[in-house]
């Protein structure tokens, strides 16, 4: 999966505003998306995102009570050269300024990303979402899964970081003790926010017109029985992640073994010291100075636990997707059986 460096703009004062007087610590309970945003995201991926590249973009909208309304979006250019970093912020600023001219909501409320078979739980995403959520309390990241959508139904999910995870990211304390203190499990990293789709009346009229004029036949991909391709790829990704996880576990095990060995060594050293001191005392010599034990035995570097957490979250996500997929397919297989039973 291509990891992308996204630098969301550090919003200046006029941008990061929500409805005045809103309680900023009330989390967003629902996301309301306009049809236009959905279509734009689909189009963006279709045209610019073939292969396993992720496409990203910015969501614009406003906050109404406990709903986050997303009314428009614009895509981000792909990272082609490395000196395009500076351009990103400028591009964003210019885009927002221009959209303001035509009365489009120019309030930054989040970002969207496409995903390949559900693999989006990564350090990059975490960092981006953290900086967004830190600056704008209600921001979300919309994950659009084009492959699942192509199988028959739109797959769009909205995620936010849980407050606990936000705390940890703020502290930048990713060690084991830090995570233990916060009692974070991989299931508490992201919280999903329900999405509803709303269209204005004019767009509804447009939909009626389109249905009348357009003769695109329904392809019924949803009833497709083939499953092995999709399963294969998902399982492949799952296996890779599990391998990563096992490596991580091995690292952790060696670390803890080293730590305990070192403790033993320290202990032995102190004991020897004490013995020697006791002997010297009996002989009447001055005891050796107490040396700083901790400086002699430098404790090994504890491995960062954040990666493990991310991998665990990702594995969880893959498993969820696989289970959803298998449940759908089982249903379809039973239907096919009924159809055959009827005929034969």
């Amino acid at each position: 999966m291509a990891t992308r460096k996204e630098t969301p703009s550090t919003p200046t004062a006029p941008m990061a505003s929500t409805s005045p007087g809103a309680t900023l610590d009330s989390p967003v309970k629902q996301i309301q998306i306009e049809g236009l945003v959905v279509l734009k995201m689909i189009k963006h991926y279709q045209e610019e995102g073939q292969g396993s590249e992720v496409v990203q973009g910015v969501l614009l909208g406003l906050v109404v009570e406990d709903r986050l309304e997303i009314t428009n979006c614009f895509p981000f250019p792909q990272h082609t050269e490395d000196d395009a970093d500076f351009d990103e912020v400028q591009y964003q600023m210019e885009m927002m300024r221009s959209l303001r001219h035509v009365n489009i909501d120019h309030l930054h409320v989040g970002w969207y990303q496409s995903t390949y078979y559900g693999s989006f739980v990564s350090r990059a995403l975490l960092d981006s979402q953290f900086s967004y959520q830190h600056a704008i309390e209600e921001s979300v990241v919309l994950i659009y899964d084009p492959i699942k959508t192509a199988r028959g139904s739109l797959s769009l999910k909205a995620y936010r970081l849980t407050p606990k995870l936000m705390e940890i990211c703020k502290e930048k304390d990713f060690s084991a003790e830090g995570l233990k203190k916060a009692l974070i499990g991989f299931e508490h990293m992201f919280e999903e926010v329900p999405i509803v789709i709303k269209n204005s009346h004019l767009i509804n009229v447009l939909m009626w017109e389109l249905e009348e004029k357009c003769t695109v036949a329904d392809k019924h991909e949803l009833l497709n029985l083939s499953s092995s391709n999709h399963l294969e790829k998902s399982l492949q990704l799952l296996m890779d992640r599990v391998d990563d996880m096992s490596q991580d576990i091995v690292k952790y095990n060696t670390y803890s073994r080293n730590l305990s060995k070192q403790q033993q060594q320290k202990h032995q050293y102190i004991q020897r010291r004490q013995q020697e001191n006791a002997q010297r005392q009996t002989r009447g010599e001055t005891p050796l100075p107490e040396e700083d034990v901790s400086k002699m035995f430098k404790p090994p570097q504890p491995p960062p636990r954040m990666d493990t957490l991310l991998i665990a979250g990702q594995i969880n996500n893959y498993c969820q997707n696989v289970k959803e997929f298998t449940s759908q397919n089982l249903g379809k297989l039973f239907m096919a059986e009924a159809l055959q039973g009827h005929n034969s």
Partner: protein, 307 residues
């Protein structure tokens, strides 16, 4: 349909000429998409129409219509419109001002995301082509070769949202007064597969305009799709019964389709089907078991580390 023509300089000859062309076009067509015209076919993606509708809703006070640029790709025989953005403009009785700087800027920004899109024309909401349109069209012909002009009747003046496309053509007497005529083009709608699926979902909101719709869970979707197929089968069955009872005359082509349909259900012996079904089900169950196992494993791992 009423083809309105714009004249820069009035001339009787032009008037007569235009009227005759208009009547011919009237005779040939009744709605967009039905015409035999010389010119590229315009293929529009639904995202463009939704965008135009949205910018119309957000127009400034006092503006009766919005205009904007159309982006897309040009083929030999067709123009595919895939994106658009609105351009602020002011229109009054006798003058029109378009923020061209803005248009150029926006195009540059868009080009950075999708470098393959070029300006193919411009759009305006509203039912008629006015004189101002000619001026704007001239500006756009400087930006793109042979720009197309798209109109969308968002105010629903004629009861329908007429979506039309036009190409401009010079006409008149050489050397003397020249005018511009907008010839209509046929409009088709092109969808990517995923777009169609997105539209299917959006269409659900139109049945209950004031309420919103959530995204359904997986098994419900399969159920929904199966329900749709069932409806279609019911329609076909009623048609067949009507034909059998003599209420409707049999149509041979429909009969052939029905034969195809019935023959498409594969004839597999019961045991073969059983084995296929069972092996598939076993695969799926095994995968479910494995994923559950993995989830339990990582949960355990986490608890152990925390200890």
């Amino acid at each position: 349909m009423h083809l309105i023509v714009n004249h820069m300089y009035y001339s009787l000859l032009l008037c007569v000429f235009s009227y005759s062309v208009a009547s011919v076009c009237n005779a040939n067509s009744n709605a967009a998409g039905d015409m035999s015209v010389y010119g590229p076919v315009v293929k529009i993606h639904p995202v463009v129409l939704a965008s135009i509708g949205d910018s119309y809703e957000r127009r400034n006070e006092g503006a009766s219509r919005v205009i904007g640029t159309l982006l897309g790709t040009i083929d030999k025989h067709s123009v595919e419109v895939t994106n658009c953005f609105s351009v602020p403009h002011n229109e009054s009785e006798d003058e029109v001002a378009v923020d061209m700087e803005f248009a150029k800027n926006m195009y540059e920004l868009h080009k950075r995301v999708s470098p393959s899109e070029v300006i193919v024309g411009w759009y305006a909401t509203g039912f008629e082509i006015t004189e101002h349109s000619v001026l704007i069209h001239e500006y756009y012909s400087r930006e793109a070769t042979n720009p197309i002009h798209l109109t969308m009747d968002t105010a629903l003046q004629s009861g329908k949202m007429n979506i039309r496309a036009y190409l401009s053509a010079q006409m008149g007497v050489l050397g003397k007064t020249v005018g511009v005529m907008f010839t209509p083009l046929s409009v088709k709608y092109k969808y990517y597969d995923t777009e169609r699926i997105g539209i299917d979902l959006l269409e659900r909101t139109r049945d209950a305009p004031n309420t919103t719709n959530g995204l359904t869970s997986d098994l419900c979707q399969v159920g929904g799709a199966a329900g749709r197929v069932q409806d279609m089968l019911a329609t076909v069955l009623t048609y067949i019964e009507d034909v059998l009872s003599g209420k409707q005359t049999a149509d041979n082509s429909v009969g052939r389709y029905l034969m195809d349909l019935v023959n498409k259900v594969p004839k597999i012996t019961a045991e073969d089907f059983e084995t296929m079904l069972n092996s598939n089900i076993n695969d799926l169950l095994m995968v479910t078991y494995l994923s559950n196992l993995t989830q339990a494993q990582i949960a355990l791992n986490e608890k152990i580390v925390v200890l």
